[in-house]
């Protein structure tokens, strides 16, 4: 096959790709524009494309007047933002740590009935999570985990583990085990084989898995709604409360929140994009 460098596609393909990209991006663009519109501009029909931008919506995320009062009070949104980052970050780290170790074990030291174990791990992701919401809610209430950081972090870690293990195992399976054997011959201990030889080779896999897990956790709504309290609440339920609490929906405010909400995930995906691309295409390239 003829190899073509990036950026050398014909004008036809380039314009077609631009159109498709624009269609995909349009809702996001609309949200971003809405975040900078004033309330009257937001509701105007037909939509106003040219307007004086305002930062009121962003200010209102953190300080706004509550029902029947004109005084601006802190909404505590910065806390929800922090909660989201802390809870997602911790659970992704934990899932990655446990998942990578487990995947290495499953890949390199298979147990009797290894495939069965792997399948059982996968089955936990086969049911929609809502099915187990009642028992989990009860367990959390009895054990006192409800409303704590520990509780929700453990919950999300459990969610992320199955596919972390599966993804990481496939990355470990792809490696040439001769290199590990060679470093054993060269005098490496089992620990340095894992950390020094295997982990550097699956960096792309770690990046892909963590972004995957992060997006899942970052967007999770249901369990956060039920298992967190006022202090440990994450962004998705906090945003939902903004819609429900008022007489009519403040679209500008919501759009501003969404803008803030997508920034961290956007940044991380952007930073890891090279690794991610390699991670996604890993299995398709022959050694």
């Amino acid at each position: 096959m003829k190899k073509r460098a990036i950026g050398q596609a014909g004008w036809l393909w380039t314009s077609l790709a631009s159109v498709v990209a624009f269609i995909y991006f349009f809702p996001v663009l609309f949200i971003i524009l809405t975040a900078f519109r004033s309330r009257s501009d937001t509701l105007a029909t037909p939509p106003k494309w040219f307007f004086t931008p305002t930062f009121d919506n962003f200010y209102h995320i953190f300080f706004r007047s509550m029902a029947n009062s004109t005084e601006y009070v802190a909404t505590g949104f910065h806390m929800y933002f922090f909660n989201s980052i802390y809870i997602s970050g911790m659970s992704v780290l934990l899932a990655l740590l446990i998942g990578t170790l487990a995947a290495y074990g499953f890949s390199r030291h298979p147990l009797r009935g290894n495939d069965t174990y792997m399948f059982i791990i996968l089955t936990t992701r086969m049911l929609p999570p809502i099915i187990v919401i009642v028992p989990i809610f009860l367990i959390f209430r009895i054990t006192g985990l409800a409303g704590t950081y520990t509780g929700i972090i453990l919950m999300y870690t459990a969610f992320n583990l199955p596919f972390s293990i599966w993804m990481m195992k496939s990355f470990f399976d792809e490696l040439n085990t001769e290199i590990e054997d060679a470093s054993r011959m060269d005098g490496a201990s089992e620990r340095s084989v894992f950390f020094g030889v295997c982990i550097p080779q699956v960096k792309a896999g770690l990046a892909a898995t963590s972004v995957f897990a992060l997006i899942l956790t970052w967007n999770e709504f249901l369990f956060s709604l039920l298992l967190t309290n006022k202090l440990t609440r994450t962004m998705p339920p906090a945003m939902a409360r903004t819609i429900g609490g008022e007489i009519n929906v403040d679209y500008g405010l919501l759009a501003a929140m969404i803008c803030l909400f997508i920034i961290p995930i956007f940044l991380i995906t952007y930073l890891l994009q090279n690794q991610l691309l390699r991670g996604v295409t890993f299995g398709t390239i022959k050694k």
Binding site: N176, E178, D181, A182, S183, M185, D186, G187, S189, P200
Partner: protein, 362 residues
């Protein structure tokens, strides 16, 4: 300087017995080739010596010391791998230096050693390249270099040349043989290529289905195979192995019936065989000479096919539904359909019993 000794070594993967009660000894200075078809357990045996695989039972002695419970890194061996196993992110020099880190050498000593090895294997030009920038033969040399850079007790090579093309393989075979003869250490080479084994080894162990079939010098493996498997496995074109019946025994001269004709063969020494029993005779395609008349000392048949082998031709001769093959010089003008008489050369006929073991009077 140390020897490698395997005592009743067995490895089972579940129900499959990969290596079955193997006992072997490799002396200092000796290059042993484990030779056999794919899946015969030769690589598993090597990996057990390296400590990369745990033996199910049996003992491994390196330098007369039992190493069964010793980790790979404590066995002080060096190994070159089939797929080279170079660290992809390190340069050639760093790859070569890696085995030295455990020895606590100064940077200068390491540098000196790298250059030494680079000179032996002609890697000077490429020491700063990464593995993906190397040609197949260069990668192979780096892999060998990484094995010889340290001063280990013994060397292990796993199919070292299998990934090279024919020309490069021939060249590297000579180079490795040269390097090994300078090192003077017990060495085990695993290969499925008999030419590799015959050229590089001082001793060959032929394996099949986890069992050692024969351990001999390269010459003896070829000239005195112990059974029909070794006889058929070593040598190209393959040895003709034909079922026969013994009709008459007259001290060293035995009259056999094979291919529906009676042939008298002089084995030079009396063999322990019984009249009227059936046996196998084995004759290599190169052990025939063409004679004019069909007498009792030669085989006769019709030429069915002639294969061109360059300087020689491979003639398929058919008689009574059985074919055998003979290599002849191009100077014989032979045509398909000709009747040809072939006389086995003196002392180059092997006799095997029904279960395939050789009958020989040493």
């Amino acid at each position: 300087m140390a020897t490698i000794e395997l005592q009743n070594l067995t490895k089972a993967f579940g129900d499959l017995i990969a290596v079955d009660n193997v006992s072997l000894k490799v002396e200092e200075n000796e290059v042993l080739c484990l030779l056999g078809p794919s899946g015969c357990g030769k690589t598993t045996t090597l990996r057990m010596v390296a400590g990369l695989e745990t033996a199910t039972s049996g003992d491994i002695l390196i330098g007369n010391k039992n190493v069964n419970n010793l980790d790979t890194r404590d066995r002080n061996l060096a190994m070159a791998f089939q797929f080279y196993a170079l660290y992809p992110s390190l340069t050639v020099a760093e790859n070569l230096a890696n085995p030295l880190h455990a020895d606590n050498l100064s940077d200068e000593e390491i540098k000196k050693k790298i250059l030494e090895v680079a000179d032996i294997l002609q890697l000077r030009e490429i020491v700063n390249r990464k593995p993906h920038q190397l040609a197949e033969g260069e990668k192979q040399r780096v892999a060998v270099g990484r094995a010889i850079i340290r001063d280990p007790e013994c060397f292990l090579f796993d199919e070292p040349l299998s990934r090279l093309d024919v020309q490069l393989r021939e060249q590297m075979r000579g180079q490795i043989k040269e390097v090994l003869s300078d090192l003077k250490k017990a060495t085990v080479i695993v290969t499925h290529d008999q030419l590799e084994a015959l050229t590089m080894a001082t001793k060959i162990a032929v394996m099949r289905d986890g069992l050692i079939e024969q351990v001999s010098s390269p010459h003896d493996i070829f000239a005195k195979p112990n059974n029909t498997f070794v006889a058929g496995f070593i040598g190209t074109p393959q040895m003709n192995i034909l079922e026969c019946n013994i009709n008459e025994i007259n001290s060293s001269i035995i009259k056999i019936k094979v291919l529906d004709q009676e042939v008298e063969i002089d084995f030079k020494t009396s063999l322990n065989v019984n009249k009227n029993d059936s046996y196998f005779i084995g004759i290599r395609p190169r052990s025939f000479e063409i004679v004019d008349n069909n007498t009792l000392d030669n085989f006769s048949g019709t030429i069915e096919l002639i294969e061109n082998m360059g300087s020689e031709i491979l003639v398929h001769v058919k008689n009574n539904h059985l074919t055998f093959r003979s290599v002849q010089s191009r100077s014989h003008k032979l045509n398909i359909g000709d009747v040809i008489n072939l006389k086995p050369k003196n002392g180059q006929v092997h006799l095997f019993n029904k279960s395939g073991e050789v009958i020989r009077n040493e």
